[in-house]
């Protein structure tokens, strides 16, 4: 009976499930605008073929091309006693028209041999005429061996003489084995100028824009430096526009001086430089004297390029994909650093056992604002004190001497062996030492930061190609200086909390339950009020109420009441599981941050630090930190508990337990997740440029919007190669490390 019922229920479930699926898929099809007619339409199919072919031909190599025209004679109409024109089939490329005479309107066959394979050929008719005119008849595509055959209709142009059928095609210049120099008359003087200044040491250029704009100013630009500004009548002062800010620099290329000697009102400029100077890249910019806008640009020498060569799109793509990979690299590193400590806070198995008394919790909460305030003060004080040192040599001395002194002092005072319980005077000494070393570390950070900044900036110009290393050193120094307040605040808050806990334990040990309860109430009220007021400040920062009632007084009272209520309800033995509170806060934060796509985050960062890869890296870092912290913490949750228990049993503190019992277990999964994240970041940073975050995405988006699908295909190819390589490399590394 039961069996039958179950069968019945199952059948009903299947029917119901089927109906629900039917409904869901129906809705899905409607909502996603599935349109099969579009798929089948000829026009759409042609578009598809076009875009697929474009994507299959990424613009990587650039050939210059030349036009090649081959002609064949024919007679229109056919005369009596026809004289057949001879075709020279010994040539590499030739054209045969059959029949070689025809009446207007007749159809003849055109056969081409020896053209570039798979290329378009335009077939035209050149009638007998005094003018250079042709009439397009048709176009064909050559086959794999470079031949084509097609029918064309003869136009109504009769003549007794031979007229021509012409086949025109463009031919690539050069091949990878035999690259050919292609000359472009970039300075428009009609003469082939070399890249180098000729033996005369002077060069005359026609600058047509000067003749059309009275009083136009010229700026001689080498690289991105303006080396000289002139006008036809001497001074050149623009009132506004980009020309207003022109700064004159020494007119040199390398070591060679370069000058515009004269400029005629017609626009003939004479430039002189020592013979043999490499002038490639030197340009003359023409400015409108009234508006200051740039009116023209003129290269000084002609451009010479090799055909075939890497297309600019290819070099740009390479440039940007490298930027992308480094963006991902930086974001992964930064994110990992943030995620590492946070991940422990989001691990349930580590946080579950952390309980504390109401007294301790209240004291700890009160320590937060006090510690923050003191930390800020410490960092300011350290900065002020370190700022007194003006000399870099003294800085260097401090950077070396301070840690040595600190370590020596610590060695002398703190023993590695943790012996019997310290007396209260020993405790006081320890506390004093901790505070003093905190100060020393703060000063050291600031001094070292300053020193690094100075050193970096000083060596940057002397390092040549490796100048970026100098910049890096300087940036590291700056980061140290910027982070000092943050570190100081965090450190001081930690110290204050520790101090609060110690007081709490001492009170707990010495006071009766009744006394503790009466102490708890005011403490909890104060802690609740402080926390609520801090929240009030945050709310006020966002919404700017501008009145203290809703953001100060109400939180103060409500917070205090909540504190008292919670403290009164807790029994002494129960304690408060702070660990779980921190756990849920950390989890919530990570999940919120993780749910915001980096593509959205980057918008905020672009507003903050401007367009470019820096904004992209920051957005990716934040997202990486949140996701990695979550992944890491789940790893921590799944580790073996036995070793942790064993380490705890030896008397290890919580910190020691984490370092000796937890960390060794999580190294392989952490490494593996970090590498996986780098992989993800490379992929993400390819699209983060869509929102202005730098990297290859910007280029890709631009090309797609401009319908330059072949250029875009090059970027897609680069992304595919990098992602595949990353995947392979990270798989191999993980294999080896885990």
């Amino acid at each position: 009976m039961a069996d039958k019922n179950r069968k019945k229920r199952r059948r009903r479930a299947i029917i119901l499930g089927g109906l629900i699926a039917f409904l869901l898929y129906g809705l899905a099809v409607q909502k996603t605008d599935v349109d099969l007619a579009e798929i089948q339409s000829t026009q759409r199919r042609e578009s598809l073929v076009r875009i697929m072919r474009a994507l299959a031909h990424p613009t990587l190599i650039r050939y210059d091309s030349e036009e090649l025209t081959i002609s064949a004679d024919m007679l229109v109409p056919c005369p009596d006693g026809a004289e057949v024109p001879a075709v020279d089939t010994t040539q590499a490329t030739y054209l045969i028209v059959t029949p070689s005479c025809a009446d207007p309107g007749a159809t003849v066959t055109v056969e081409g041999h020896g053209f570039t394979p798979n290329f378009d050929v335009t077939v035209e008719f050149r009638p007998e005429s005094d003018f250079d005119i042709t009439r397009r008849m048709d176009s064909f595509t050559t086959d794999d061996s470079g031949n084509f055959t097609g029918s064309v209709t003869i136009p109504n142009r009769e003549s007794e003489n031979f007229q021509q059928v012409e086949a025109t095609t463009s031919v690539r210049v050069g091949s990878w084995l035999h690259r050919v120099v292609v000359w472009t008359d970039a300075n428009n003087n009609g003469v082939r100028d070399e890249e180098e200044m000729g033996p005369s040491g002077t060069l005359t250029l026609e600058i047509p824009d000067v003749a059309t704009i009275p009083g136009a100013g010229l700026a001689l630009v080498v690289g991105d430096k303006v080396v000289q500004t002139v006008t036809t009548d001497g001074d050149f002062t623009a009132i506004g526009g980009p020309a207003a800010g022109l700064q004159m620099n020494a007119g040199v290329i390398g070591d060679a001086p370069i000058t515009i000697d004269s400029l005629s009102p017609e626009g003939a400029a004479q430039i002189s430089a020592p013979a043999g100077t490499d002038l490639s890249g030197a340009e003359i910019l023409v400015y409108n004297p009234v508006t200051g806008d740039r009116a023209g640009i003129q290269a000084i020498t002609d451009t010479f390029e090799l055909s075939p060569r890497l297309d600019k799109n290819a070099t740009d793509t390479l440039d940007k994909i490298i930027e992308t990979v480094f963006m991902a690299f930086l974001a992964t590193t930064l994110g990992t650093f943030i995620a590492l400590p946070l991940s422990f806070m989001a691990a349930r198995n580590l946080m579950r056992d952390i309980r504390t008394t109401v007294t301790n919790l209240a004291l700890n909460l009160l320590a937060i604002p006090v510690g923050g305030f003191v930390g800020l003060w410490v960092s300011r004080w350290a900065r002020g004190l370190a700022g007194l040192v003006g000399s870099d040599w003294l800085n260097l001395l401090l950077v070396i001497a301070l840690p040595i002194a600190l370590i020596a002092t610590l060695r002398a005072v703190l023993s590695e062996e943790d012996t019997e319980a310290p007396t209260s005077s020993e405790r006081a000494i320890q506390m004093a030492i901790t505070i003093a070393s905190g100060f020393v570390v703060a000063i050291w950070t600031y001094v070292a930061g300053t020193l690094l900044q100075h050193v970096g900036r000083a060596i940057q110009p002397n390092l040549g190609v490796f100048g970026f290393l100098g910049n890096f050193i300087a940036i590291v120094g700056e980061v140290a200086r910027l982070l000092l307040p943050v570190i100081a605040i965090l450190g001081t808050v930690g110290l204050m909390m520790n101090f609060g806990s110690k007081i709490g334990f001492a009170l707990n040990d010495r006071m009766s339950a009744q006394a503790i309860r009466s102490v708890n109430l005011p403490l909890a009220a104060a802690a609740g009020a402080v926390i609520a007021v801090m929240l009030g400040f945050i709310v006020d920062w966002f919404y700017q109420f501008g009145s203290p009632l809703p953001t100060f007084w109400i939180p103060l009272i409500v917070g205090a009441l909540i504190g008292v209520y919670l403290a009164a309800r807790r029994k002494r033995s129960q304690g408060v599981s702070v660990g779980m509170i921190v756990y849920y806060m950390a989890r919530t934060l990570f999940n919120t941050l993780r749910s915001i796509e980096p593509l959205v985050m980057v918008i905020v960062f672009v507003v903050w630090v401007g367009f470019g890869p820096f904004a992209g890296s920051l957005a990716l870092s934040l997202h990486t930190a949140a996701s990695l912290a979550k992944l890491y913490s789940e790893q921590v949750e799944s580790i073996a508990t036995g070793p942790i228990e064993a380490v705890r049993a030896t008397g290890a503190t919580r910190m020691q337990t984490i370092i000796y019992g937890v960390v060794p277990q999580i190294v392989p999964p952490y490494l593996s997740f970090t590498m996986y994240r780098w992989d993800i970041n490379v992929r993400m940073s390819t699209i983060i440029g869509f929102a202005g975050g730098g990297g290859i995405g910007f280029l890709l988006q631009q090309n797609i919007n401009l319908l330059h699908y072949r250029d875009a295909a090059a970027q897609m190819l680069a992304i595919a190669i990098v992602v595949a390589t990353m995947d392979w490399v990270s798989a191999r590394l993980r294999e080896r490390l885990v």
Binding site: L414, S415, E416, E417, D418, T419, E420, A421, F505, D509, A640, G642, P643, E645, A646, V647, R648, A649, T650, G651, A652, T653, M655, Q656, I659, Y660, G661, P664, Q665, V667, P668
Partner: protein, 250 residues
């Protein structure tokens, strides 16, 4: 002397693991704790160094109340109590030496924890202990590269480097084959006889109990059902401990 008074443990789920257990152990004794699986043996051992917080009752060790010790005092108590586990509980990916050195964590200044280093004396101690269990040549191997018996010997070295006054051994031989079991038990016996360390050891096999213990307590469903010596364990007592249908093996 270790005094356990009215010890009761009720887990969060409401399970009564220990029910009013009281007993005493003189210093330097070898106490065997027997009972069925789930009778509360592990909970009892873990309550003694407060890896598990007892719900009620007191544990007095050398005149100090362990149950009410502050975190700082507890650290000083725990470092004098070595612990050996059924599943060895070594950190698999760490070297043998590091695992042994972890036993010194209770003595190292917590401020130095981040530096991840131990003093030269501690390294010397680790060598001595590894030498004692015959594994000094394996000190640079990863812990999981060792066999089960070897891993348990590392576990003993880790407990011994604490220079303990008492060792809590939670079924130290239950995951090992009988031949290895005797070798491990002999190490514990030697520590007990030679170093005068009190040993509290939970055991499954009664022949091991008879062979090594000087004193026996038995638990059944969290209650203390027997207290005496191994020779006093007759068939009637045996049934009280293991149930009416149980039969003696080995």
């Amino acid at each position: 002397m270790l005094k356990v008074e009215h010890l009761t443990k009720i887990y969060d789920g409401g399970t009564l693991a220990l029910d009013d257990v009281s007993f005493e152990v003189e210093d330097g004794r070898f106490l065997a704790v027997i009972g069925l699986s789930g009778s509360g043996k592990s909970t009892l051992l873990r309550c003694i160094n407060r890896l598990i917080e007892p719900t009620e009752g007191r544990i007095i060790w050398n005149g100090v109340d362990v149950t009410s010790a502050s975190q700082e005092d507890l650290r000083r108590i725990r470092r004098r109590i070595g612990m050996v586990f059924q599943h060895f509980n070594l950190v698999n990916r760490s070297k043998v030496t590091t695992n042994v050195l972890a036993g010194r964590l209770g003595y190292t200044n917590p401020a130095f924890a981040l530096l991840n280093r131990f003093s030269a004396e501690d390294h010397q101690r680790a060598r001595t202990q590894l030498d004692r269990v015959g594994l000094v040549d394996r000190d640079h191997h990863r812990a999981d590269a060792l066999s089960g018996g070897q891993q348990q010997r590392v576990g003993i070295a880790r407990a011994m480097i604490q220079e303990p006054e008492m060792i809590l051994a939670d079924e130290p031989v239950a995951s090992l084959d009988p031949v290895l079991a005797h070798s491990i038990m002999q190490y514990l016996e030697q520590i007990n006889q030679h170093d005068g360390v009190t040993v509290l050891c939970s055991l499954h096999f009664l022949d091991l109990v008879e062979r090594y213990s000087q004193q026996v307590i038995a638990l059944n469903e969290g209650k203390l059902v027997f207290q005496g010596t191994a020779s006093e364990l007759d068939d009637e007592k045996f049934r009280d401990i293991y149930g009416q249908e149980a039969e003696r093996v080995g």
